[in-house]
Structure formats: C-alpha cells, structure tokens
C-alpha cells in the first residue's frame, strides 16, 4: 500500500516585531554618564565595581549611576522597574547603559 502524502502546515506564527534600529554609539566615554542595570544575581555587584575601576582609569570623568538607583531588572516588580527606566535615564542624564548579568 502506497504511503499517503501529507501537506504539513507551519506550526509557528509570524513574529510581531521588525528590525529595530540601535541607538548611535558614543564617540568616547570620557565625561559620560553610564547607568548600571542589574538583575541582582551572579555577582553583578562585584562585576560593576571592577568595570567602574577599569573604565575610570581609561576615561577620566566617566560617571556611574548605581544599579541601586533603578532596582532589580529581574524580580517580582521587574515590569515596573523596566517601565520607569526611560524617565529615570532622562532625569539622571544617562548617556549609556551597562546591563547584567546574563548567566
């Protein structure tokens, strides 16, 4: 008996996002304000302290806004925290963001 031929449908559905252009990068970090975003796991507090040390040595005048200013980006109030970021970045004059820890 010949095997039946099937016409199988695609089980996914279309993505609802197109390509979003990324922001223009900075010319230098010298004198810029960098915000730290942390999900409060995997030693991010130590990692951010080390990055501050290294960046300040290379770019005098670079300023950091601690993760403590923003709250955890991965917890029970993460949606509120993320929603508040544009306003806080504007108020604090943030030029760039470092976000961690993806572990």
């Amino acid at each position: 008996m010949a095997d039946r031929e099937y016409e199988a449908l695609w089980p996914r559905s279309p993505r609802q996002v197109g390509v979003k252009p990324l922001a223009r990068r900075l010319d230098t970090l010298k004198g810029k304000t960098v915000a730290q975003l942390w999900d409060y796991v995997f030693r991010g507090d130590e990692v951010f302290a080390l990055l501050e040390e290294g960046l300040q040595e290379r770019y005098p005048g670079v300023r950091f806004i601690s993760f403590k200013e923003f709250g955890s980006t991965h917890g029970s109030d993460e949606r509120e925290v993320l929603a508040s970021l544009p306003r806080k970045f504007k108020e604090l004059g943030v030029d760039a963001v470092i976000s961690g820890m993806g572990c």
Binding site: D3, R4, E5, Y6, E7, A8, L9, W10, P11, R12, S13, P14, R15, Q16, V17, G18, V19, K20, P21, L22, A23, R24, R25, L26, D27, T28, L29, V34, Y40, V41, F42, R43, G44, D45, E46, V47, L50, L51, E53, G54, L55, R58, S72, H74, G75, S76, D77, E78, R79, F89, V94, D95, A96, V97, I98, S99, G100, M101, G102, C103
Partner: protein
C-alpha cells in the same frame, strides 16, 4: 541609548536567539568568561578587566553590525509535502518537534480542531516572548494536531495558550537555569467529558487527554514562544513535559472543599485551567494519622524539605511570590476535612508549622547561592517583607516559607485509597500561578457526541 549587555560564556547562544526575537539581532553583548559563580575573586577580576572591559567599550563606542533577520514562512504556509516519515524528518530537522514523531498538521486536521471552538482562527491570544510571535487560535490548532490531541480538546488548548500569554505568568522566563516545568491543573465537568484521568497514576502517561494536552504545552512553548534547547531554553538539566493533572471533584464536593480554580475566582463547576512552573517535586509516602494533628507535622516537615534556593522567591528576587503546591490523595483530604478543617485551615497550619530557622534561610541565599546582599532584619525593618520574618534577633527563630497562608496551593487527586501527598517546589515569579476559564463552543454537546461516536 547605547547599551552593553554582560553575558556569561554559556549564555551567548541565548543572547543571540533572544535578540532576534526582540527585533535587535545585532544587539551588542560583552562576554564574561566562564561563570562568575565558580570563580575566585582574583579570577573574576582578571576576566572582567582583561576581557569584558574591552567588549563593553566596544559595545558602547563602535557602530553595531548590520541587522539581518531571516525570512520565514507565512502563517498558514505548507512547509513540507511528503510521507509520514518525510514530514517527521522535516519537523525534526527544522526544530519544530520535541523529538517524538508528530501527527502531520494537515489542513483537514487543523480545520477539525477549529470546529471545536467558536473563536476566530486569526484571533491573537497574546504575544509570546522571547520570539515575539502571535499566539493565534490557528497556531494552537496546528500544535494540538501535532501533539496527538483530539479535536474536542481544543477549548482546553485555547485556554492554555491564553494562560501562557498572560503577562502575570511570565512565559519569557521559561528557559531559565533550573528548568522548571509547568504543571497544568484542570477543573470542571470537562474532566469527565474528555476522559481525563483524575485518580490513580494521575501524573503518569497512559491517558490520551492528560498526555497529549501536556505534550501540546511543550510544543507550543517551543514553536510559538520560542524555547528551543541550546538557544532560548537554558535549563541546566531540564525536565520533560508533565501530563495534565485533573482534580477529583467528586471528593471535593463530598468534603466541601473548593477546587483549585477557586484560587483565581472561578467557582466549583467552572471549566478552568491553572498553570504554574515547578522546579522539583517529591512524593511523600505513608502519611499516617487519624486526625489532622497526627497527620500534619510530617506534611509540614516535608514541605520545608522540598525547598532550598527557591526561598529566593520568598525574600529576594521574588518577594512573596513563592507558591508551593501540594497534591493530596483523596483519603488524606477526607481525613483532614473530616475533622471540620477547611482548605484555609490547612493552609494556616502550614504557614505556622512549615518553618525554617532564620539562620538557615540566610545561609541558603546569602552564603550558599550568593544571592545579593540582603538581610531579613533590614528588609523587615524597612517594611519590605512581613514582620513574621524578624520577630527577634535570635538566629534560631523560625520564620515562614511564604508571606501568607494563602500562598500555599492545594489540589485533591490521585489514588483514592492511598495515604500520600506530592509537594512541588515553585518557581516564584518565573512561572506564577495563572488561571483561565475554558470557553466552550455553542455546539459543545454535539461535538462531544460526534467525538464519542468516532
């Protein structure tokens, strides 16, 4: 705003897959070598200053790569024509199946599923992260066919997709490290109408309704939400999908306890699904005693023993979002209820007796798992956690596992004549309990009758 995302070595693949779903396939990330959790302070310092720092600078100051997205088939496209084996080879090769043979989702089979709902096939039930795909009724039917469901299961499948898409549940976290798996609990007359097992071996495969609906969950999570192992699904070990657990509503009616769906405001008699993610579970055998006072100390002790790092969802990352689930076999529930105890009384008992020393609580989270700097005393004094967590400075004082008695969840199911319970350790905010009512089509009785005749 220029950004740099710090990503440990093992998560670069996930970062790449997630950024595509977010529409930023060229999102720059900064490598953190190895895993910070096992590095000495010296090694961490060297890795960050000698490797990560340069990447961060590059991310923030160099133009990103060109953004490219691959073309995909249209929503109702036929992606493969061929024999049963050809279709299965194609689906496996294109990561569209779970590794087991699937039922080829042909148009006639999908349309049979769509006849079991009054919902529009193009209706969008929600947008699923991380892939940002629309959860459509159509795609529910396609994956339901693949899973081996019967067409009349469709109303349950739609309710599950709605629950999965509910932001309250947090589907975007489904690929996290502990690999917790969703447990579906079913309530309502539909249990008997569709032949779900709700007695002995309720979590065992062998019952088409329980098994195929459970499989559908994982296929939908893979194909529409986008959780593929080695990509967006970063479970360290993982679990296979769980079969659906249906409650024994005959026993509930007999003892006067509310069904699990009442947690979400649905009264007894409502057809409803409840989903939540659990990292682990354990069978608690030989629960003995003829009174609650004799029976419950063992259960409270077992409740504590099933939880460790998950306490981070009580205080820490989750803040009051730990919702342990306990299945009680019918005779255990009947024994407790026989003394006039309500579900609420049982939850209150667990709140008061399933406790852990403050010292151990802190040791698990602060010392052993290196969760961030916090302190029960400080959190309580700042009013961020209930006072029950700091009633004295004694490190040996017992503190609750959860914020409120109602955080415990209970369901009655399993073997009618066995004295057991099963306790699940919950995943907190990363798969929070979510319930949805099941909408039946107008011609439900006719559809059921047709299904029975087949």
């Amino acid at each position: 705003m220029p950004t740099s995302t710090l990503v440990c070595e093992g998560f670069l693949g996930l970062a790449g897959a997630s950024s595509v779903g977010l529409g930023m396939p060229n999102l720059p990330v900064a490598l953190v070598p190895g895993h910070t959790g096992v590095q000495s302070k010296d090694v961490l310092r060297r890795n960050i200053l000698e490797v990560t720092l340069d990447r961060v600078v590059g991310n923030l100051t160099s133009p990103p790569k060109e953004a490219l997205m691959e073309d995909e088939p249209a929503a109702r496209a036929i992606v493969c024509k061929g024999s049963f084996e050809d279709v299965n080879e194609y689906f496996e090769a294109n990561e569209l199946s779970d590794g087991l043979p699937i039922v080829p989702p042909t148009r006639d089979k999908v349309e049979a599923f769509l006849r079991s709902t009054d919902r529009d096939p193009d209706e969008v039930l929600g947008i699923m992260l991380p892939d940002s795909r629309a959860a459509t009724v159509w795609s529910v039917a396609v994956n339901g066919v693949m899973a081996g469901c019967r067409p009349e299961y469709m109303p349950v499948l739609v309710a599950l997709a709605e629950a999965m898409a509910d932001p309250y549940y947090g589907v975007e976290h489904s690929g996290n490290t502990p690999g917790g798996e969703t447990l579906i609990i079913l309530n309502g007359p539909i249990i008997k109408q569709l032949g779900f097992n709700y007695t002995q071996g309720v979590m065992r495969d062998g019952f088409r309704a329980n098994s195929s609906v459970g499989r559908f969950w994982r296929l939908y999570l893979r194909n529409v939400a986008g959780f593929l192992p080695h990509k967006n699904d970063k479970a360290t070990f993982g679990n296979t999908w769980r079969v659906v657990v249906a409650e024994n509503e005959d026993i509930l009616a007999k003892i006067g306890w509310e069904p699990n769906c009442a947690e979400f405001g649905f009264p007894a008699g409502t057809n409803a699904v409840c989903i939540a993610r659990y990292t682990g579970g354990n069978h608690i055998s030989s629960v003995s005693g003829s009174t609650p006072e004799e029976t419950l100390p063992y259960i409270a002790d077992a409740m504590v023993r099933q939880h460790s790092w998950q306490l981070m969802f009580t205080v820490g990352q989750g803040m009051g979002t730990l919702r342990p689930m306990m299945l009680l076999s019918p005779i255990i529930a009947e024994t407790i209820a026989g003394w006039g105890w309500s579900k609420r009384d049982l939850k209150q008992y667990l709140y008061e007796h399933a406790r852990i020393s403050a010292e151990q609580f802190s040791r698990i989270l602060r010392d052993w798992t290196m969760k961030p700097i916090w302190d029960l005393k400080e959190e309580a004094m700042l009013g961020r956690i209930p006072k029950a967590f700091h009633e004295s400075d004694d490190p040996k004082r017992l503190v609750p596992m959860v914020w409120e008695p109602d955080d415990f969840m209970l369901a009655v199911t399993g073997d009618l004549m066995r004295n057991s319970v099963y306790i699940f350790a919950h995943n907190g905010v990363l798969g929070y309990p979510t319930g949805k009512a099941i909408q039946l089509p107008k011609k439900w009785e006719t559809l059921l009758e047709k299904g029975r005749r087949k």
